[in-house]
Symmetry: D2
Subunit: 411 residues, 4 copies
């Protein structure tokens, strides 16, 4: 048993923390303000990137703090999932930081899909510029008209028609769809309605400038458009792409999704843990700096108990996530299903609790744009829905747990 | 013991519900969208009222659904606090509805202050147009530089200088400050630093166009500016107003605040209960209308238990609030301190829980502007801070509870 | 709206509180110790009543503090359910106090059944001595072999055979079965297996000395036998009683149960609220009397917040229960189904929380027999199971709540 | 990073699980019943050991499943704290199992004290027979008259008088004091009232047959005497023992306690995790075996969500504890203070939650002696008080957390 991080990971972590402290945290508020000012009505057509952020990306790339998430040693830095985990945590302290290191969702997941399941041509065309950070991508799964918690409800279609695929449907919560550099979407849709439940859907690459792709609007999440990324609603009307744009094969959508989601959840959760650490630190600093009733407010009532509780919850969440990462590394995603669903439930709920406490310690400042805490609240709340709501993941955990007893296994 | 509402209150309630159902709910989304589009960067100078809302106000006024909160039978409708409570609940279902009936914060509280403590001249100049709905007002208490949970921390000053008052200081979270019709602020500040702790502060009426009043910005609450009302930050620099603008007397700030806050908390809490009822109804309707895994989602997992829990929590919160209102009506604010602080803790936390559940039932739609749920979340979260955070009110409740035993009273 | 208690109820309450303070609380620990020492191995055959308790019963009866629960003015004191509620609360402060006033379960519920549904002969034979406190009774519903949360699972049978009823089956958790004065059981069993689901079962009066009735053992609840009452397991083997012992009619079991349970839940819940008040008062007194780290422990960490939270939870629970009682009084049990199930969930959970807090404030003393807190824990925990577990009552509340929307009613 | 158990630990675990499954679980109910029947009035003088348990001890010893907790390879099995942890978990599934492997509290802690701080003579006289399982020991720390949460409150005295120590005071919750084989107590008391706060107290070995030692009574915990071990109250009146009985030195009490408590908390917590796993497995099996409303009850309402939540909470608790054990192994107790206090809070609370859920799934059986669940409840509840209540450990965690910021360290 060894809970220590590898030397290699620790080296990256030291560099990353220095980069975060020296270059990212000092500009956090100005970047967030600039992003919010971009076009707050959700007119994504006018959104643009910030030079400040572009320069940070160049700096990070030059320093080798780039594509850290990708286990491949040539294309990424060759870190395992559990080695990358502490780095993901470090980037989670600032909402927009992951992109600086080309480690942001949904590009990371999309790159993993292309890396594992893409053809050489797909890799050349899309993976290469994504790895370079030259373009961005979108993942189109959730639909407005059905309960997406049951992914088999998905109604969009991907039909083979000669040497083309025809895509029809409406998607929303497609994160990053508003970004000026977003060039391609991985779209999931129904192809073989008569196949077994999890063999009906496919994934295809759809350039965003293909005829029939129509971005309808950007959605707000707790009042924020998250410019210049955005969460978009988009329709596909008889969109035709060559069959070469099919990933893996018809009916492989869920198989691809499963592979994609394992490491992706580690990343999301570790970033959420980073956000929680940030919120806890802010709570303490605020609690020490303000006085009420003759004492620093951190000393009042149950505040110290809540600080302790936050520390305990964060540490539990981190260990659960690291253990899941280690299981993925050593036994594969299929043997870590309980762990992956467990963190999907536990970590965002933990973040929601910790941020709520931190906001309470800040008073009004906590819900305003003067701190990143309101954004962390939105992040936590959305993570409890996105990529399977709490309820679906609890169901998965219980199903596997109960199955142990149905098979007659002892506990 | 009689838990039924008075006939008079029930009559108003029936009218109010009809008005809400026929006139307000149908335009809810369009009004909210129009308000958000006003100027989402927080440039309050460009905010304006909506004709649609102005017309609704006229209709309500014509129908006598106006100033329902004011116990005075001439100036208001002569309803007691507990008679008004169910009406406040009904208006809470739509964020902007209270204003339509001239029952919105902070104007209600400010009108009560003027009604109970204002001079005839003050009433003529300010109460009259407020009751008519012709102008709006602001309450300036919270300050950015100190922990406002301890109101005695307040650093703004109101100094008597000859026949003038001189006001200096910085305030924030002054709700409604951005509204084009906001004309006057009730400002609280330190006047007698050497007096007893709760006899040091005063309240004064300050016209917003007085020289030295400078609105700095509008704050966001969870990303929303709440146009055309806004939550403002404002400085007062050597602002001079005639001594006639002093309310009651120097050093009476806390005495006035106490009288103001009792009924105000009933109003806030009842509106929050209305919002919770709305969220619960929306959760059920959504849960019945969407299918997953072969069932309406409301039938899945713990959803029905959560529906029940919401019903139980809401009913408990309402009863606690009605009981507090009844105590205020029959024994006065001073004899209802436990009850008033108890609802201030219990109700917003209840709303936060219920809305969280409703959002989870809605998935992504729940956090977007497509539903009012995200706004209800913000409302709940801010109510846990505004007007004394949870912790301060729990402290008050415990202090009174422990005092029973210190005096040797039996429990 | 009027939250005050009636004068009549207040008069009884004053007398009852005086009786409790002067006569019951002083002997609480000695009576509990004597009961525990009776025969702690569960050999109920050797259990006996305590002279001390018998004398208290005589005193209470002489003073008219007797059968307070019964709405009949001749047989009881003619108090409504909501008038009796505060009295039930007062008796809940001491585990064995309700019996002193002949207001203990299950006798109260059994007397109500006989009062409402019993024949004249049944009333003469059983109700009269029960009202006099001369005998005690048992209610046999729960069965060990099935999930009793679904009462239709019940497997015991009550079969009509000529002018006799034949009873077969096994029951457990029959409270009071071990008491030397327990003379009769109301037994519920299946009579008409082919009737509609809730018209299959009957209730019959079975003398405990009838041939074929065999008490198997007393069960412990958290290690306690609750001598001299006990929670028994009992078998009925071809027990024959005359048809006159049938209550109301064959197939009326659920109809009777529903009528029985409404007021019974008010009683249980109000007693639980009394226990919670006691626990809160004890927590405060302990917290004030012990020092740690230089302060009374009540001033440490989150203790005052927990005191406040307990006060708020208790007050909410009481109001919810009084409202349910008022609904029963004014609209009948059938129109108070949500309220009755709501309190069944909310109140025992509240008691469990409050007692947990009080124990924590007491340290080791809290879990020992030196305080009544461990017994209150057991009481709370069992109430969450007995007479329908939390889950069944949440289901009832949600079913009624969802039904409002299925019928197309607006919220 | 490596979350796997060592081969050596896994080997022991396989043996231990087999022993538990084949020899301990089958006799669990009969042993518990026999213990309860010993003398349920708390007359510990009549308590005796069970031949059945004595034989199991011999079997375990013969098989080398003995003193597994002791890191010393000669005296124990040479397992590190983190290697022993999974074994402690396995023994936690049955309340009385730890003793079978000579791994029960408080003997393990006392043996560790003697191992680390005892003189050769003390080891010869006391450690040797304890390691052999021939005698048992007691730890006397908690006192009835003071808030023991602040250990510096301790009022018992250990005074040096020539070549003797004189011990005076009253202790309670001395676990195991009623056991017929209990021969010696480690007593903690005040020696140097004027020294620094944590250098005032000493620990001494006091034979239980020394003149002046008087056992007053056994305490119940939730109605249970825990025969034949017991939780005793004992007075020391001018008890004189030779100075050789002093452990380490005068004033070293807290230094010894700190060393003792680190591994001891790992043991306690891992046993609690074993109990939680047992409760979870029982809940599932019960939930699968009972039907209500046409389904296995595990499929009703929120039951599957609660099963999932239990799995998640248990896994988080285990990882937190294993991480703490690993920190102790690799960095020492002093560098694992946050972790050790964190598990002390998190694990018993987790057990309390999981057992509460399991009881609810069992209905009445869950609170009776028919299952071990009521005992697990008592175990969890007491662990939240014993050895520092939740509040004290949360305070420790928050103090260390806040200190990071006071020193100016970044988070």
């Amino acid at each position: 048993m060894d809970f220590s991080n590898s030397e290699r990971s620790n080296d990256y972590l030291a560099q990353l923390n220095q980069f975060m402290n020296e270059k990212v945290l000092p500009v956090e508020q100005s970047v967030l303000a600039a992003n919010r000012a971009l076009n707050p009505t959700g007119n994504w057509q006018e959104w643009r990137t910030l030079d400040e952020v572009e320069q940070l990306k160049k700096d990070a790339k030059a320093q080798g703090l780039w594509n850290l998430f990708l286990p491949d040693a040539q294309l990424g830095q060759g870190l395992t999932c559990s080695e990358y985990a502490p780095l993901a945590e470090a980037t989670g302290k600032v909402i927009f930081a992951p992109e600086i290191f080309n480690c942001n969702a949904p590009d990371t997941g999309n790159m993993e899909v292309l890396y594992h399941f893409g053809s050489d041509a797909q890799k050349q065309q899309w993976l290469k510029p994504l790895l370079a950070g030259d373009i961005r991508s979108v993942f189109c799964m959730t639909e407005p008209e059905v309960a997406s918690s049951d992914a088999t409800n998905m109604e969009a279609t991907i039909a083979a028609d000669g040497d083309e695929l025809v895509i029809n449907g409406r998607k929303w919560w497609s994160t990053g769809l508003g970004h000026p550099n977003a060039k391609v979407a991985i779209v999931m849709g129904l192809s073989k309605p008569d196949a077994a439940k999890h063999e009906r859907h496919s994934m295809a690459l759809v350039p965003l400038d293909a005829p029939g792709v129509s971005i309808k609007r950007m959605l707000t999440a707790y009042g924020e458009y998250d410019a210049p990324y955005g969460h978009g609603e988009v329709t596909f009307t008889n969109v035709r792409v060559p069959t070469e744009n099919l990933i893996w094969d018809l009916g492989k959508g869920f198989a691809i999704a499963q592979g994609r989601l394992g490491p992706g959840r580690i990343h999301h959760c570790m970033r959420a843990i980073g956000a929680a650490e940030r919120a806890l630190a802010m709570a303490i600093q605020r609690g020490l700096s303000r006085q009420a009733f003759g004492k620093p407010i951190i000393q009042l009532g149950g505040n110290t108990e809540r600080i302790a509780q936050a520390r305990i919850q964060i540490d539990q969440a981190r260990l659960l996530t690291l253990n899941a990462a280690w299981k993925i590394d050593n036994f594969g995603v299929k043997n870590a299903m309980t762990e992956i669903s467990a963190i999907k439930v536990a970590v965002p709920n933990m973040l929601q609790d910790v941020v709520d406490m931190a906001i309470q310690m800040h008073g009004g400042a906590g819900v305003s744009d003067d701190t990143p805490l309101a954004s962390f609240t939105a992040m936590a709340r959305i993570l409890r829905i996105a990529d399977g709501p709490d309820e679906v993941h609890r169901h998965m955990v219980s199903r596997l747990e109960i199955a142990k007893h149905l098979k007659g296994k002892a506990s």
